[in-house]
């Protein structure tokens, strides 16, 4: 027989864990990583430029610094006077730096990401495959339209789906994300009011159950914001809202389903009252994933609503890709929608822009962006829609709601659930820190969830719930994944209620433990400065 004489033997773990400190500070696959400025030396460079003195007029060898005014120096006085101190790293050093940092990150590809209202769900790989097709990925917005008919076709087809799914009249595809979409909708309302000669309507009503961006949007567009209270069951106080309507009210911004995770059941009646009082209804559609295929916002009297393609339609976000926030409009707001948009005729797809808009779109309030919007996200969203179909999209909403209710009912015995008695929740479950002993609050639960290997849920929002924990599991989590998360949150909640002091110092297993947020806010270090070397300081 052939003997292995290398001396290798399988290791047997010693009992106990007396882990020694390592020389590097690394702990096996958990790597300590310094700032890039501390790794890279300004004396080195990863790129080997040729000196090219002929064109710049530079002297031999010295290409990095100036000033060297010369006939070839087109920057004149703006020429760099001294090195700016960027670290010079080679390609492998750079790749390793960012890959090491990325290992300290949490991502939807690693595990359940329960951030409420953010809809952190799986981004199907088919979306990515389609978005990388050269005919979509390699086009330029200024290409002649007859060379990008396929791309324009994607925009047009997606637009038709969005209009159909929402029961609205038209859609502006160009807004780049949710808040940008809100601004688009509010600017259309403003334009419509001015066209009617009612620019004096300066008040926008925003319920407490709305998204935090809503009042910011209205204020940014020049309106005065007035709060409308929430009822104890977590919905907008319809009576208070209707009572406030009048000739100074431009409209309302309402989030449905709202940030308490509840469907605004009175929305149709609210819309009718707002319209009767001469106002418009903006709906924040960030939570459309809970009702897509089940409810058409157009049937509820909505005048404008943004759709987060990066939430409902599974395009990446949160560092994984840009957002995209198309806005659907009612018939009466359609004339004021922004340019450009794609139209279809017998000869193909056309871009309707300022030069070609003509009288039909003379009332458009202008542009939200230079070009058409997030083409890469359009391709992904349409792929998602076509791969699910109408029945599949309906199931998306049903499963999102089912999963959230599963979380809510699995934990309501250990965590206070303020709206659990209001009936089923929609796509997100909300808990409070009611019942925790003195000194324990939501942040301790969140930090301990990090130790359990989960990204924490949304904390302390909505404001109407004390110590709010807003959990949105999404429809892409399996029962097994949900059970593991529920088990982790239950365990942490029980430790909090028992006053377990180790929670106050969590996380214990993250690359960094509990940070001093107060010190970070009072004395923030925003700029890296080269440490002064002792010998230089003495000179």
């Amino acid at each position: 027989m052939a003997l292995n004489q290398s001396g290798w033997r399988p290791t047997t773990p010693e009992s106990g864990s007396n882990a020694p400190a390592t020389f590097t500070g690394n702990k096996a696959l958990m790597l300590e990583e310094a700032l890039i400025f501390e790794i890279g030396s300004t004396d080195t460079t990863g790129v080997d430029f040729s000196a090219s003195p002929a064109k710049t007029g530079a002297q031999s060898g010295d290409v990095a610094t100036g000033p060297r005014p010369s006939p070839g120096n087109k920057l004149g006085d703006l020429f760099r006077a001294k090195p700016i101190g960027l670290p010079g790293l080679s390609e492998p050093e750079t790749v390793r730096h960012y890959t090491r940092l990325s290992r300290q990150n949490y991502a939807i590809d690693l595990g359940l990401f329960p951030l409420g209202s953010c809809t952190m769900k799986h981004n199907p790989r088919l979306n990515e495959k389609m978005a990388r097709l050269p005919g979509f990925a390699d086009v330029h917005p200024l290409q002649p339209v007859d060379t990008v008919q396929g791309a324009l076709g994607v925009i047009h087809q997606l637009a038709e789906w969005l209009v159909t799914l929402t029961g609205m009249h038209s859609v502006a595809m160009s807004p780049k994300a949710g808040a940008h979409g809100e601004l688009c909708g509010i600017l259309a309302i403003k334009a419509a009011l001015e066209k009617r000669g009612e620019g004096h309507r300066k008040v926008v009503l925003v319920p407490e159950s709305a998204h935090g961006t809503n009042p910011a949007t209205a204020a940014f567009a020049g309106f005065a914001v007035e709060d409308i209270p929430a009822t104890p069951d977590g919905r907008v106080d319809t009576e208070a809202l209707v009572a406030r309507l009048g000739p100074d009210v431009a409209g309302v911004m309402i989030t449905n389903p709202n940030t308490c995770g509840l469907f605004e059941r009175d929305l149709k009646a609210i819309s009718e009252a707002v319209h009767a009082a001469g106002g418009y209804v903006y709906c924040d559609g960030a939570n459309f994933n809970a009702i897509v295929g089940r409810v058409r916002p157009g049937d509820l009297g909505i005048d404008a609503m943004h759709i987060n393609l990066h939430k409902t339609f599974s395009t990446p976000h949160g560092g994984g890709g840009p957002g995209s926030g198309p806005v659907v409009f009612s018939e009466r707001l359609t004339p004021f929608a922004p340019l450009p948009f794609v139209e279809r005729s017998d000869s193909g797809f056309h871009l309707v822009e300022e030069e070609t808009a003509g009288e039909h779109h003379a009332d458009s309030f202008g542009r939200m962006t230079a070009f058409h919007g997030q083409m890469g996200m359009f391709t992904r969203a349409l792929t998602y829609i076509l791969s699910h179909g109408a029945d599949g999209l309906r199931q998306v909403a049903e499963d999102a709601v089912l999963n959230a209710n599963y979380v809510l009912r699995s934990l309501e015995d250990v965590l206070d659930a303020p709206f659990a008695k209001s009936g089923p929740c929609m796509h997100e479950a909300i808990f409070s820190d009611e019942g925790f002993p003195e000194g324990f609050t939501t942040i301790d639960v969140a930090k301990a969830l990090i130790d359990e290997g989960f990204h924490p849920m949304t904390m302390y929002f909505p404001l109407v719930v004390h110590g709010a924990m807003l959990v949105e599991p999404t429809e892409t989590e399996s029962r097994a994944a949900l059970d593991q998360f529920i088990g982790a949150l239950r365990s942490v909640a029980e430790r909090a209620k028992a006053g377990d002091a180790t929670l106050k110092t969590a996380p214990h297993f993250a690359p960094r433990s509990r940070l001093d947020e107060t010190l970070a806010a009072r004395k923030p270090k925003l700029v890296w400065r080269e440490p002064v070397v002792a010998s230089e300081a003495a000179e």
Binding site: Y460, E517, T518, A521, R522
Partner: protein
């Protein structure tokens, strides 16, 4: 010297025509660690209820409203370097600004200490 409180948790201490304004101990407790305070400049005219100062904690930024009308005499410069004074001594060293009252009768609409304690107890 007498002290009054608002429902928005500002206090004002009256000394002749001069009022010193700050936020209550209850308010600092709710805000948590204060990290930044923006006080009004000398000479600024304020009406009762105007946004007079901004107080920022790790948790949130809040406006501080003027309990009465008047002209600002002085903002508390010490808070720029040491916002934590609002936490450690909210109703003393952690005062926000002083102003000359233009209408002392506005004080009648404010709460005294007993009334404010009862108000807070119900929150």
């Amino acid at each position: 010297m007498s002290r009054y409180f608002t429902e928005d948790h500002e206090w004002i201490r009256i000394d002749g025509q001069t009022g010193t304004v700050g936020i209550s101990d209850y308010a600092q407790g709710q805000l948590g660690d204060i990290v930044f305070v923006d006080v009004p400049e000398q000479g600024k005219g304020l009406s009762k209820g105007d946004e007079a100062a901004v107080v920022e904690s790790v948790k949130a930024a809040s406006d501080v409203y003027s309990p009465v009308s008047g002209a600002v005499i002085e903002g508390n410069a010490a808070l720029a370097d040491e916002p934590a004074l609002v936490n450690s001594d909210p109703e003393g060293e952690g005062w926000f600004f002083k102003l000359t009252l233009s209408d002392p009768s506005e004080l009648d609409s404010l709460m005294d200490e007993t009334a404010y304690e009862a108000f807070v107890a119900k929150l």
